[in-house]
Amino acid sequence: MKILKIFIIVFLVTGFFELKSEEKNNELKNEILKNIRCLICQGQSVYDSESDFASSIKLIVDKKINKGLNEEEIYDFLREKYGDWVIYNPQLNKNTYILWLLPLLLFFLGGAIIYKKTLKKKK
């Protein structure tokens, strides 16, 4: 009887931890899928799309997570296959530095103009 009790407890505990890790994997999967562009749909992420392309990518991401790959490794894999465009959040490299730095530059330029104007008004 005691052995049966211990067996049931062990079974429940392992089941609970398995469920927890599955939930964690699902969260990670959804986070990754939301950041991948569906290349054959317009303005949709793979997460939102039901297209054939999106369903294949969902399967691949699932398999890669189960294999133990982390988020960045999965993005690298997709980037190698489809280029930077497939990821919504592009990396900073020689092709994308204008994309990243231009808003910052415009922000500072605007700030400088406003600063200069207010300084003029004060005078």
Partner: protein, 173 residues
């Protein structure tokens, strides 16, 4: 003077926007990434269409020739239009045509091959579309050219036409 300068800046800005949007109108809205550097073929294992036996990619691409990988499906209409051109390409001895049957019903695929002819020296089954992603494909039909060093050197998205066939023939010559 200041007003004139402002007007000039506004006109320049508007013309700049006009040119950008006008040019954008003519661009295709389907994105095709450039293959900037030659990519290695993926390493995979896949079921053979006829024998149902699992085959290794090294075994499939073992010969020292050009390979043309074509992704197709019986439910895909553009695949039907490109099929006669694939039949023409299959006559070429300097390359082997490998078919990748994408998310298809096996019976329908077999009917398709029986009806239109088999241009492929080997057909692999890609039921989940994973193999196609490994090749960097979007869907069907799509055609890849693999050189003797087992690198993907060209990719054609969509059905091939006569012009593309001529291009392929030039490459694999």
């Amino acid at each position: 003077m200041k007003n004139k300068l402002n007007l000039f800046i506004i006109i320049v800005f508007l013309s700049f926007c006009f040119v950008i949007f006008y040019k954008g109108l003519n661009n295709s809205n389907t994105y095709t990434p450039k293959i900037s550097n030659k990519k290695d073929i993926p390493i995979f294992e896949s079921k053979d269409f006829n024998s149902n036996v699992y085959l290794n990619s090294k075994k499939i691409f073992e010969d020292d020739i050009f390979y043309i990988v074509n992704i197709w499906a019986s439910w895909c209409l553009p695949c039907r239009t490109e099929h006669p051109l694939l039949m023409e390409l299959s006559k070429n001895n300097s390359s082997k045509l490998i078919g990748l049957n994408y998310k298809d019903n096996l019976n329908n695929a077999k009917k398709f091959i029986n009806e239109f002819g088999n241009p492929y020296s080997q057909i692999l089954i890609d039921n989940e579309g994973i193999l196609s992603v490994e090749f960097g494909a979007y869907g069907v039909p799509e055609t890849f050219i693999i050189d003797k060093n087992k690198k993907i050197i060209r990719k054609f998205v969509g059905p091939i036409n006569k012009e593309i066939v001529e291009q392929i023939k030039l490459i694999i010559k």
